[in-house]
Symmetry: C2
Subunit: 199 residues, 2 copies
DNA sequence: TGCCCATAGTTGACAGTGTAAAGTTTGCTG
DNA sequence: CAGCAAACTTTACACTGTCAACTATGGGCA
């Protein structure tokens, strides 16, 4: 008799978030509906109202879960195959950036929800999103010596996010599609214009 | 009796786009509705079907108009107060970048529609968006000598867009909010790490 | 001139959406 | 064991996009 289990369903809150994530991955943002989410969780269409503040609340909760997944991904990517004990600080940073872009590619509708639909007034969401940013900040430290640290971190974060967003739906065709993506741009930013590859 | 005037309304197509832009500016994306747009243009809720392919078609047309506005803004910002004959190439570029960010700030719902809702399969939209990108490319020319031009342009575009998007709804509080925004980051990117302001 | 009909617009209907109110079940508490 | 609050259901409503059927207008062609 755990006190966590509510009366009927047994943690419907999390079940709804799971259902929403599944719908989002399957049919995109258009397929994520309060009623469909409820149906998928096996409850009536009005049940979510007792756990979230309407559709907005559900989307916010899903976004929060998304940031938790992203944080987990960013933190654990270091200890995965091929990324063990990377000594080069730039390569260590790029492992993080690539993880960020990977997450965006693999969860595009969720990523879009997290960054354009969620309301950042929620302090909980703000906190978990800040934790994600902190991982990137830590990877930037080797490049902030003698410079405005905030500015360097800001630039890296801006470029990584811009790359992710433009990669999703860029209006500009003939993108160079660098492989590995974004790396040359980051090199130019952090190591100076003399270090970028001439054509 | 100009042949451009259709039978009843007189260019309802453009009137619907105007109405949609007004709704978008007034009440955001949630307020932009096919029925409301039709009502604002003074026609029945089903009239737009004869001019656009459903809601998607209307949104696409509005996005197209948005890119036209952006292109106009980017091209004419040079000849405005305080921007006459800027000799410094970096400052000339920044005039363009600031125009880009200004447009985003002043038309946030439209900007979001242009970059996340419109379908870039439309070749017309692709073309006009490419024209916008071309203006930025031109401003990048002074910085592409002896470098991979595509890469430099890509980096500038990525950073500008990333900055615009994060400025709209950044999950990271305590943003440095540089004034003028984005300039120091761009300086770091284009002029090298030794040229950015130390703390 | 006068008919004809494609174009433009209207009306009505339908499935699906979010939300709110009222009713029902459940399981804990006094 | 009574009662009650939380969890869930049912019902209803306004609104959305889309479709089919209907009406009216005005230009082309006999």
């Amino acid at each position: 008799m755990t006190p966590k289990k509510p009366h009927h369903h047994g943690n419907l809150q999390e079940a709804l978030i799971d259902a929403g994530l599944a719908l989002l991955a399957e049919s995109g943002q258009a397929g994520l509906t309060l009623r469909k989410t409820a149906a998928r969780a096996g409850v009536s269409h009005s049940a979510p109202a007792h756990h979230f503040d309407g559709l907005r609340g559900l989307l916010n909760a899903i976004a929060k879960r998304g940031f938790e997944m992203l944080l987990d991904y960013l933190r654990n990517v270091e200890h995965q195959n091929g990324n063990h004990d990377q000594p080069d600080p730039f390569k260590r940073l790029m492992v993080r950036v690539h993880a960020y872009l990977d997450f965006c590619d693999r969860n595009e509708p969720l990523f879009r929800l997290m960054f354009t639909e969620a309301s950042y007034d929620d302090p909980e969401l703000q906190k978990i999103a800040l934790n994600c940013y902190q991982v990137l900040r830590d990877s930037c430290r080797p490049f902030t010596e003698g410079r405005n640290a905030l500015e360097v971190e800001h630039a890296v974060w801006t470029m990584a996010h811009g790359f992710a967003v433009l990669g999703m739906n860029s209006p500009r065709p003939n993108a160079p599609a660098p492989n590995p993506p974004c790396e040359d741009m980051m090199r130019m930013l952090l190591l100076g214009p003399s270090n970028d590859t001439p054509d």
